[in-house]
Symmetry: C2
Subunit: 356 residues, 2 copies
């Protein structure tokens, strides 16, 4: 996921969120010191894993909370941080599942643990197991911590229970999406377009967009209609956003996005582009190159051209516009306060034409 | 961990616990049906992973709760089930970390998912990744569900917060113990006896003994002295129990325990026996055989003899007796109600002489 435009006001929110995250990790690091240097390192790397992100999820929580006139700010900040910790946990486990050792241009937690073990004389295979074990345990700790933060939110028990329900739902649905994504990557059956779209909604849109927006609204005491509108908007926009990421992963300008335009294709990532192309006659040209670990930059550009010529690119661009339009229509039909409605429309518009 | 003697009364408790677990999984299975057959299978296998255990942890919760005159039984049963779900989650992730595909004599969740993928034509390596991904996700779901159950316990907010603190502590300490255990198994530094004992207390005693007993007491409204006594008893007895398991793993009667007497030795498991032997002159005879994947039964018996002759066995037996005696002394010095005190003394005695 690349950038999202949440306006100037949100810079202040990010500072507040980072301060609360810092306090969380500082407390855990102090406790961890009692359990030896490896465990301290685990927490230090978990903190590092949570850095460098754009805080999209916590900013959505606070955006909805403020926009709907929420009062108890501490509860909202804790909930915002809970979503960020959940996100970090999912990234950590996603990396273990995919056997990735690099994220955001540096060694990830598993990669750092494996590299350290190698440097201390452990063999390659065991060092890899050590890194993966550390990634699993760090993710476990953050999943638990996320729910623990929400469980302690100082709110009427009805509000807290609704929030707990939301977090339960977010975790439940995200796991379903992640399982589907892995089933595609190990080639358990064919990934058709509706399957890919359902996977995207489950794996990304639910906990990254719908969940945070709804959480902020719950804490602000919003009614059922508002919650439903935000959840629907979040699902639509989350899918649009991920589709945009899929486009950038093949057609983007690497110098601008910082994202390689061959990695998705080398990895054989089952995106909406690929699912569309598979149903066209272009597939016989795409298939021999798709998922090849040694794909060259020139072959990558050729694959991109095939995906353009067969209509996959135009199809996905239209699909994004359609999702954005539906998301905006949900906002228009809602009783959201004008300031929040404008903000969410502006976020939606920022998802259009991101390749240009 | 093998058996523990909690008396006849506990058969009734097991039925109650199983009914609540069944209800939990039935609800999740119904929800999972909306997200496809793989996800349903994930929940079905997660339920299977929770079956066949001895429910030691939930029975400790209810034992302490009843013994201390607790009233709100639903809260206690939910908390008991939370500890069982946490246990299942740890087993699932432990198996992924150790690359084990069998537990309790059948394919575990990861093994079952991998076998199914193989049968559907997926290659061996990808099938293994699929199995591990499923194991990671199922564990994530149960870690989250565990905390979620406790977060909803209908109790005064002070009681619930104390319970949440306890679960936080249990997860935090168990992860530290698991990380230490993995550091031994990948041979990151030498596992000395104090390290092995600290690891055992952290990985097993905290969430399996101290945590459940304290949780039951918290829900019964017990005071700080009682909580401290139960936590201390639990830590001591948990270590004694694990030490007994280490002995059974080498000197036990396979026909009685159902546990292989070569698997720990083949695996190169760093137990108290091995840590003791390493500091003796017997180590030069033990070392060439220890951790050999092709260790024969005869070689296993020879290794066991070395561990006996060098004094490791007697040392660990004494260590168990010492921990049991200290656990009993904690009970004697406490203000626990006589019925609960007698029960806990009896549990402690059952940890002595388990080899005979």
């Amino acid at each position: 996921m690349t950038s999202i435009h949440l306006g100037e006001r949100h810079l202040g929110l990010s500072v507040e969120i980072d301060a609360r995250l810092d306090a969380f990790f500082a407390e855990r690091l102090t406790l961890a010191a009692r359990y030896g240097s490896e465990y301290q390192r685990l927490w230090a790397e978990a903190r590092a894993a949570s850095e460098g992100g754009k805080r999209i999820r916590p900013r959505f929580v606070l955006s909805a909370f403020e926009g709907l006139g929420g009062i108890d700010r501490a509860a909202a900040v804790d909930t915002a941080v809970a979503f960020e910790l959940l996100h970090t946990a999912f990234l950590l486990h996603d990396d273990v599942i995919d056997r990735d050792t690099v994220r955001r241009g540096r060694l990830n937690l598993s990669g750092a643990f494996a590299a350290d073990a190698l440097a201390r004389g452990v063999g390659v295979q065991r060092a890899g197991l050590w890194g993966q074990a550390a990634g699993i345990l760090a993710g476990d700790l953050l999943i638990h911590a996320s729910q623990s933060l929400v469980a302690r939110v100082d709110a009427p028990s009805g509000t807290r229970d609704t929030l707990l329900d939301l977090l339960d739902h977010s975790v439940f649905v995200t796991a379903a999406g992640e399982l589907a994504d892995v089933s595609f990557s190990v080639r358990l059956g064919e990934a058709r377009l509706p399957d890919v779209l359902a996977m995207t909604e489950r794996k990304t849109a639910t906990y990254s967009f719908a969940g945070p927006l709804t959480a902020g609204a719950i804490l602000a005491g919003a009614g059922g209609d508002i919650l439903e509108a935000l959840a629907e908007y979040g699902r639509l926009l989350g899918v649009a956003f991920q589709l945009g990421d899929d486009l950038l992963g093949v057609f983007g300008d690497q110098d601008v996005t910082g994202k390689s335009v061959v990695s998705d294709l080398r990895e054989g990532k089952e995106t909406s582009l690929i699912a569309y192309a598979r149903a066209t006659t272009a597939w016989e040209r795409v298939e021999p190159l798709f998922g090849r670990h040694d794909l060259s930059a020139a072959e990558g550009r050729m694959l991109a051209r095939f995906l353009d010529e067969c209509g996959a690119r135009a199809f996905v661009e239209n699909l994004i516009d359609e999702h954005v339009a539906r998301a905006a229509a949900v906002i228009d039909a809602s009783d959201l306060p004008p300031v929040l409605a404008d903000e969410l429309r502006s976020v939606a518009r920022s998802c259009i034409g991101r390749i240009v």
